[in-house]
Amino acid sequence: MDEIERGMEETEQQLRHYRPVGPPPELRSRVVGGARPPRTSLWMWLPTSALAAAALILMIVSANARRGLAAEFAPPAENREAVANAVAAELGGDPAVRALVARLIELDEREGTFDQDTAARPEGSRHE
């Protein structure tokens, strides 16, 4: 072993008596106390929230479209009158019946199920 190597060995020996200091106790509370809850929960809810928002938008759009279509295809008032009179006449022509038929047609129109052709036909010819 030459002198340089011996010197290095001595320095290494000297180093072995020491080690770097460990973390101060307050670092643990700084680390653990300073940790915020993970963002996992937020990310986890993201797809669900996106789906719910999409469904809501779709519902609003389809409701608007339905309302628009119903308004566009609503039977004119004079047809409604004629149909109401025809049906009321079939049921005896009583004014109370006439009023009830008119109310039913109105409700039917709101639901979008009113079919002028079928309603105006005589009773016997409706079921083919």
Binding site: G7, P20, V21, L27, A35, P38
Partner: protein, 167 residues
């Protein structure tokens, strides 16, 4: 065994992870930086980054943590070049409490502070942690020759510095 983040909550999980790794990571950072306050900041940053990651994206193995601390330390050193004032708090302690030699410790600390960070790092991994040159080379992504020569330069400079102090 590596602690797992579970129902007990993030803080308990982080506490267990800290207890398992912080000692070694802090000592590693102390030697790269030759600065205890900076080492505390580096370790704190690494654990904070882990705590903020969502489940499934957390890597908490020793190798990853070491690399993260190392990156923090070298970033801190780059910032430090623009700043003034370095912590001169004692960063070495005797392995055996009865072996206290304050003058020698001070001389060693002062000598270690004069080394470049890369040499301090290799000195730490070899002399204090007992890794082989091959293991250090793998960890740092350097050749074994580079690692070995950094170590020899470090020991040589320490010897010179300590010898000069003694004479």
């Amino acid at each position: 065994m590596t602690p797992r983040r579970g129902d007990e909550g993030s803080a308990a999980w982080l506490g267990a992870l800290y207890d398992q790794h912080a000692g070694r990571l802090y000592r590693y950072a102390v030697m790269i930086l030759a600065d205890t306050a900076g080492a505390g900041d580096a370790v704190h940053q690494v654990f904070l980054a882990i705590a903020r990651k969502p489940d499934g994206h957390v890597r908490s193995d020793e190798r990853y943590l070491r690399r993260a601390v190392r990156n923090e330390c070298y970033s801190a050193l780059r910032r430090r070049k623009r700043e003034t004032g370095v912590d001169d708090t004692a960063f070495l302690e005797t392995v055996a409490a009865t072996d206290e030699r304050p003058d020698e410790r001070l001389a060693l600390e002062s000598a270690i502070r004069t080394l470049p960070a890369e040499q301090r790092e290799v000195l730490h991994l070899k002399a204090f942690e007992g890794f082989t040159f091959q293991e250090i080379a793998d960890q740092l992504g350097e050749s074994i020759n580079t690692v070995a020569s950094r170590y020899r330069y470090a020991i040589g400079k320490l010897r010179q510095h300590l010898g000069a102090k003694e004479t």
